[in-house]
């Protein structure tokens, strides 16, 4: 019970992170709901073994990104699932129309990247240091730097088009 309360608190404190990851990796709104639920489920499954072993954010990003990869290969789910109001969740983006438009453009550019690049740029935009990105992804710090350099160049070119 104590575990569950702690878990609920952790999820509530980090729900934005899960939202952003699902927005980058999901194909559409339905898919986003599926992925969101699956990430929470996987986080719960690993919560007991995680406790205290690493930083909450490292554990959370790791599980969420890994779940997103696993999710890529799965078929579309049925309607069964938790009823979740993503329209409400979208209010954050729709606060003003200019920002909404800019965010949509940004997500559209990120979605064009491949699965590895998406994960790396997401962590970069989240403000993670190269060391933290390396610890979450398993790439070396140098490799993270090289890859991010390439991704930034790619994004720059795509945005200018």
């Amino acid at each position: 019970m104590q575990d569950k309360q702690e878990f609920i608190q952790t999820i509530k404190e980090n729900e934005g992170v899960i939202y952003k990851i699902t927005r980058v990796y999901a194909k559409d709104k339905e898919d986003q709901k599926d992925l969101y639920q699956e990430i929470v489920y996987q986080l719960w499954k690993s919560f007991e073994s995680f406790q205290g072993k690493s930083k909450v954010s490292t554990w959370m990003y790791r599980v969420a990104l890994n779940t997103s990869i696993a999710h890529l290969n799965k078929q579309k789910k049925s309607q069964q699932g938790v009823s979740m109001d993503f329209e409400l969740l979208n209010l954050a983006d729709e606060h003003d129309s200019i920002m909404e438009e800019q965010m949509n453009t940004l997500y559209a550019h990120i979605k064009k990247l491949n699965v590895v690049e998406k994960g790396l740029i997401l962590l970069f935009l989240e403000g993670k240091s190269y060391e933290e990105i390396a610890s979450i992804t398993g790439f070396t710090v140098t490799n993270v730097g090289t890859r991010l350099g390439r991704i930034k160049q790619k994004l720059k070119t795509n945005i200018k088009k």
């Binding site: 934005g16 952003k20 969101y36 639920q37 938790v82 954050a92």
Partner: protein, 200 residues
């Protein structure tokens, strides 16, 4: 939009998203319950049902194996038994592995490598399935005929209806195999690209 602008925009958006407390305790508890992760469970149910049918059929062949009294019927029986047991075991093993992936222990890179390899393994299995499909189609006929009606079709021959059935099945399976092979090549290529990308 410049990259710095992107980062700034992301930060602003993050602040807004984080301010919104939309998940309720009830919603989170619901999400932690396995009944909501139906995706893999659904595949598992179908595959398990299919496997049980295969195992029951294999048991039937095995219990009546003594009735197969010539070397070619014994050979057909062995092939049928192999196809009915080996493939379901491999498929169930693959599903079990996918279901028990520890997503918290692996990092992003390891997951991607595993994902790519699992994809290739699964597709290989699919190809094996098609191959065995052809094999079982021919091997099952004499076995079934002997066990169900005590007729050795190698001696009595088969009816024209059986030939039509066999012809249609071969054409159907060949078309399916051709389509499957196209898909296989495309997906394998994407899995290979992913693994190559990780080596860079």
């Amino acid at each position: 939009m410049e990259l710095e602008e992107m980062k700034q925009l992301w930060e602003t958006m993050s602040q807004r998203v984080e301010k919104q407390q939309l998940l309720t305790n009830k919603l989170i508890i619901q999400m932690t319950q396995e009944r909501y992760t139906t995706k893999l469970s659904k595949i598992q149910t179908f595959e398990t049902a299919g496997s049980v049918i295969c195992f029951v059929m294999a048991a039937f062949v095995l219990f009546n194996f003594g009735k197969l009294d010539t070397w070619y019927l014994v050979l057909s029986g062995i092939l049928v038994l192999l196809a009915l047991t080996l493939l379901p075991i491999l498929v169930l093993r693959s599903i079990f592995k996918m279901k028990h992936l520890d997503l918290a222990q692996q990092n992003f890179r390891e997951s991607l490598v595993e994902f790519g390899r699992e994809k290739q393994r699964f597709l290989f299995l699919q190809r094996l399935n098609i191959g065995f499909g052809f094999l079982i189609m021919f091997a099952a006929l004499p076995v079934a005929s002997k066990l169900l009606s005590n007729k050795d079709i190698f001696e009595t021959g088969v009816s024209s209806f059986t030939w039509i059935y066999l012809g249609a099945a071969v054409v159907g399976l060949a078309l399916f195999a051709r389509w499957g092979y196209g898909c296989y090549r495309r997906i394998t290529q994407s899995a290979e690209n992913l693994l190559k990308e990780l080596e860079d």
